[in-house]
């Protein structure tokens, strides 16, 4: 199991140790309260380099590549972390 992963369904409650539950690519993930989008991506997919090839949607909003670090996530947020793959 990946550290920081919770087996429960993502709720909107704040964890006992100042953590919040979010959903990343349909997987529940528990992250420290006050985490940014950049923190969540680093936790979820350490290999995903910020910038070219990767993009993030927070809810239905695209988070511009330059804004990951200063965009906070809140309990219950749903993120999609996408990358360019072979296709088309």
């Amino acid at each position: 199991m990946t550290p920081g992963t919770t087996t429960g369904t993502a709720g909107t409650t704040t964890g006992a140790a100042g953590e919040v539950d979010v959903v990343v690519n349909a997987e529940p993930l528990r992250v420290p309260a006050g985490s940014s989008v950049a923190d969540v991506v680093a936790l979820f997919a350490p290999g995903a380099v910020q910038g070219r090839g990767t993009a993030v949607a927070l809810g239905e909003d695209v988070v511009p590549a330059g804004r990951w670090a200063d965009t906070p996530v809140a309990a219950g947020d749903r993120l999609e972390v996408l990358q360019a793959v072979a296709g088309g």
């Binding site: 690519n25 349909a26 979820f44 997919a45 350490p46 290999g47 995903a48 070219r52 090839g53 990767t54 993009a55 993030v56 949607a57 239905e60 695209v62 988070v63 511009p64 590549a65 999609e80 972390v81 996408l82 990358q83 360019a84 793959v85 072979a86 296709g87 088309g88």
Partner: protein, 289 residues
């Protein structure tokens, strides 16, 4: 007006223009020039090495990619391959079923790849992967408004192609046949009609099975061909890449050259005058052909 596909026409390479396949006959989309008229997809290859060799052999300069959820365990970057080959990356909206999904995917593609070019694809169902005309046009209008350079994958429907052009699409890309079928060009008449009326580049997209299909598309007057499966899933993708490169060049040249009219009966290419008569054959009798 004659039948739309029986001869080469001014809609293709025009008289006085440089020969097809040379640096003087570029494909121009939204002001950007490409020497190659073969646009490729990257899906379906067994691995990145096979893909790289096939892309190089094809001579392509513009290649589509899809956007999917990050796979934390994935190894090797597709973008590194594409950078090595030196192709421009064209993100697509493959898999989107609504204008809303396509818009969000296009915007994510713009962020991920730093380009406002997008291959717009909005399909109706997974079985046919045929474009949903209503959602497609809606998405095209919104993306153009949002500053995107939209290359729209569309049905082989001349009316819809015109609507997409009027919406501001930089290229219209009618299908030859459903994606991945390799059935070739099912309605060449409609493709020729689309070419005849279009004011933006027409790219035959989807359905190509083998080199003759790609050549046919260019003979019909298409400005370029977009294909993936035909190369990536061929038994020898690198060799098929080479075949497609030549097919597109040959079809483009044939279109510019102007093919002969089709005839019902034979027309001798050797002269009748001076034909020998052997033995007791009559001088003015019916000669042998």
């Amino acid at each position: 007006m004659t039948t739309v596909e029986s001869t080469g026409s001014p809609a293709g390479a025009r008289a006085g223009e440089p020969a097809a396949g040379t640096a003087g006959d570029p494909l121009v989309i939204a002001g950007r020039e490409f020497r190659s008229r073969l646009i490729t997809g990257t899906g379906g290859a067994a691995n990145h090495d096979v893909l790289e060799r096939a892309l190089r052999a094809s001579g392509t300069e513009l290649t589509t990619v899809a956007l999917r959820r990050v796979d934390p365990s994935a190894r090797g970057s597709l973008l590194e391959v594409l950078d090595r080959v030196g192709v421009q990356v064209l993100p697509n909206t493959a898999g989107c079923r609504t204008a809303r999904e396509a818009l969000l995917t296009a915007r994510l593609g713009r962020e991920a790849l730093g380009t406002d070019w997008v291959k717009l694809e909005v399909v109706a169902d997974e079985e046919t992967l045929l474009p949903d005309a209503v959602e497609l046009l809606d998405a095209a209008e919104q993306l153009v408004d949002d500053g995107f350079t939209v290359l729209a994958y569309t049905n082989d429907d001349p009316a819809l192609a015109l609507r997409l052009e009027r919406a501001g699409c930089a290229a219209v890309m009618p299908l030859g046949a459903p994606i991945g079928t390799g059935l070739g060009i099912l309605n060449p008449h409609n493709i020729a009609l689309i070419v005849q009326r279009a004011g933006v580049p027409v790219v035959l997209d989807a359905g190509i099975g083998t080199a003759s299909d790609a050549a046919r598309a260019m003979e019909l007057g298409c400005d370029a061909v977009l294909l993936a499966t035909a190369v990536t899933r061929a038994q020898d993708p690198e060799l098929m890449g080479t075949a497609m490169r030549h097919a597109v060049l040959a079809g483009r040249a044939a279109r510019g050259a102007g093919r002969i009219p089709q005839r019902a009966l034979a027309q001798a290419s050797s002269p009748w005058d001076g034909l020998a008569r052997f033995g007791s054959g009559s001088e003015d009798g019916e000669g042998a052909a």
